[in-house]
Subunit: 572 residues, 2 copies
Amino acid sequence: MSQPAANLAVPGFAPTAASIPPKDVNYRRPMAKNQPVWHTPLDPVNFLLRAALIYPKKVALAHLDVPYPVSYTYDVWAQRIQNLAYALIESGIKPGDRVAVIAPNCPMMADAHHAILAARGIITPLNYRLTKGEIQYILEHSGAKLILCDHEFTHLLPENHAPVIISQDTGRVGDPYEDFLARGRRFSQERGWSGLPIEPDENAGSCLCYTSGTTGRPKGVLTTYRGSYLAAVANAYETKMDLYSIYLWTLPMFHACGWTYPWAITFSFASQVTLRTVNYDLIWKNFKNSRISHYCAAPTVQIGIVNARHASYVEQPLRAIIAGAAPTAHLIGSLEKIGISVSHVYGLTETYGPFTISYDRPEYKTLTVDERSVFFARQGHSFATADEIRVIQHDNDSKDLVDIPKDGVVLGEITARGNVVMKEYFRDPKATAEAFKGGYFHSGDLAIWHPDGSIAVQDRSKDLIISGGENASSLAIEQVLSKFPPVLEATVVARPHEKWGERPMAFVILHSHEEGKWKGKDKEFEIELKKFARQSLPGFAVPEWVAIVKELPKTSTGKIQKNILRQRLAKL
Amino acid sequence: MSQPAANLAVPGFAPTAASIPPKDVNYRRPMAKNQPVWHTPLDPVNFLLRAALIYPKKVALAHLDVPYPVSYTYDVWAQRIQNLAYALIESGIKPGDRVAVIAPNCPMMADAHHAILAARGIITPLNYRLTKGEIQYILEHSGAKLILCDHEFTHLLPENHAPVIISQDTGRVGDPYEDFLARGRRFSQERGWSGLPIEPDENAGSCLCYTSGTTGRPKGVLTTYRGSYLAAVANAYETKMDLYSIYLWTLPMFHACGWTYPWAITFSFASQVTLRTVNYDLIWKNFKNSRISHYCAAPTVQIGIVNARHASYVEQPLRAIIAGAAPTAHLIGSLEKIGISVSHVYGLTETYGPFTISYDRPEYKTLTVDERSVFFARQGHSFATADEIRVIQHDNDSKDLVDIPKDGVVLGEITARGNVVMKEYFRDPKATAEAFKGGYFHSGDLAIWHPDGSIAVQDRSKDLIISGGENASSLAIEQVLSKFPPVLEATVVARPHEKWGERPMAFVILHSHEEGKWKGKDKEFEIELKKFARQSLPGFAVPEWVAIVKELPKTSTGKIQKNILRQRLAKL
């Protein structure tokens, strides 16, 4: 359980002079006068200040496998975040102003999740895998007044952009980002945290994350201080993070503000390691050398981890938090075999990332991996601080929402409400009203509802395959196909069919050791796969077509881009 | 880790018909119309409903070593709580009305902590060890409209009391309490939880607990739904309660609503075992047979547990949550030796019970028990959802609060603010204003503030001994005396002294195996004890007088009643 802190400290590295807190450092922020003695607005920045107060010399953040590695203890990191908050204020950021960040997982990106809130601005993290045009749209739509940009992504900046601070990701004097922090420190005149009043309205916007926008323009999801606080507490509690935890950033932090883990980590006094890219060699190096205890990733990244060349049994307790798609029995089994336990969570940007979890049950202990994974593949129940989920009739036009039966058969739409649901689509009251109709947020995800109250996502509405008048769930088909031993990963989409309207088409990636065996035998493979599929799928759900591919188009967060596959098929 | 559920189920017991939920049970409560989609009032009743939804067949509550043992699964327990809520409403309880409970730890007492809130009343638990006159005062002051009373304590009811429901603590048909629940069920007309709207104002009062009132009349501490929710989450997180936890009720639930553990238990889906009295045989029976994982108690009860005749090594992980006074090194060592780990917390009724915790540190692992206990004996830092503590100059008359230096030497008063501080002293605006002066709640407890931000309580203001002009902390002296091997428990109070103003007097209880050795040798013992004390205490702090006693006057929660000792001395 004890943390080998030495592995996270960077030998020979010294933080800049501006990063060193004063001797009499104070972590108390002023409270608005109208707050009663018994009321403090919920604000995740307080987690950082608690960590710095209680564990000042514990490593908060390590950025290791880069040309300029750095490692910050909590007291130093809190000072840097304070400096950034002051620098933002000096730059003219006022409460409610948006500050954009274009950066991979790196210290500046982590800093921003605390400092922008401490300055009472709204953090607007951008997906750096978007096109320049999309970036321009988001910068304009959000009205970002300032941009924090990593040196690798300056080419994404549009021509007439707001003022930008560029980070060379060095942590050393001479880096423009470090100069910016030093300026903040000077501007603070050593007022420290006492010069940074706590946001008095816990329902104020704190984060603005744009959805990836597979259909139409990206939408800006505005979330609050209160929601970020409560979602972070739930994530820390549900995945058992504590003082001894070390979190590895495999999930891009720009994705729904890293599912609120930037604050779940500080809430639990854990340490974090930032990785600029999803690199399986580095992930495994960190699993081993940094004694990682937690990481988040979509199944496709998990598949990469399990099959990486350095994969081997992990000695310390290591928990994989999986979302984005249901993990297959095969994947859960493969992870467990190398000592990685699985938490399957589900959510959307509109729900601060995860808001359901597939809960463990004492009786699962007696089941085989295959049996257990049937349950773990479900999206489960709302987690600790979220309201009970509702699955409603998605094809019902009445104003009142009507629950589907909890029979594990009927398909409905997942809806949610409560403290871990977004406040609005920014500057889009029409889309907000549409999403909130009936007093619940409509996810667009289709699920069945089991008698035990757990949900199992079947598809996005648009991913459903209407095959001969029957609803075929592409996810359910994928679950079956991925059990076929030669298959590493399978994806299924609808393809127009003259007779049946639509029929499923499967795209599969083979395990590397199977590629030779099936080379030039696509037809034989197709026959075998269909035979396998027929054992557990109704005829209308067995793929009509099968294509062996080398890779699949994926979003930056590892989700398969089914819309792109459908577009390709439309051209056939 | 897995829970042997069979040990908590009572063979042959069947809940009453009214306790059986309908087949299509629904755990969703109506929300006020003005709540936005993204906002749900924080309400600890939701924890119960989550537990019943997700783990309906898990044992929620077991009441074992009584003439009529019972055991309820979460679905049944939630139905009983729903019945009680309806019964209260049928009895005329309106939002904000007080419902008094006079009961030991038993199912009715546990039910009340959820049902009264579900009916939007205010739970007013009474200390059944008070006198009839004090009970009468509290019933009148609180204006309780209804009383739930255990059969053992009906003699405490004053002549003109509000309507009372008596429980025979049987859980069987014919018990007036069971009849009351059945009436509630009938009154509900099977509307279920959908007929019990969620309290729309999370800052509404939910609990009214009267302080034990060592000085003057008891004061009513009013706390809120929001505070109860956030304190319970922190208690569950900080003491690592989860699905596999089994909590034993050694702490009386009437004490500050059981330190919010009634809700911490449901938050974490744990099971609980109720014990009507602190009986060391039963405590050990449950440690062994019920695989208890958590319990709360003051040091004096912990001393009893360690020295009980059935005490032996505990196989499962078992955590003792200690508050009420600092545990000595000897006590921590004794607990650890039999496999019990220690969480030392601190708080007052005004802070929902615990609001600080002595945090673990990785570096403690290399220390001896004696070295570690020096740190663990500190009250530590504010816990997860509490605001940073302040220790202020207690002898400063200026309106503005002034922090004492964090030097581990200067003595100041512990003050607190934020979401886990009470809303007010009920119907006592003057006392509230006095307690809240300067925008912080004043605890009346004196502490030093260490450079690491942790606090160490030295004394209640009134327990401080002014010996020859020097401040002597009775707690610090007790810590030393309790290390003297023959001593089981030591208590020190001020006794008037002609020359020095005051001098410490020690009351000690000997270990039973030491009693024979010192029989009739009080003077020799005194000489030896003083010699021992002089090794680590300044002269003014060495007790001037020593008395060997068989027992010490204690409050119902195990706190030594120093005021009584002082009264005795005043008569000498």
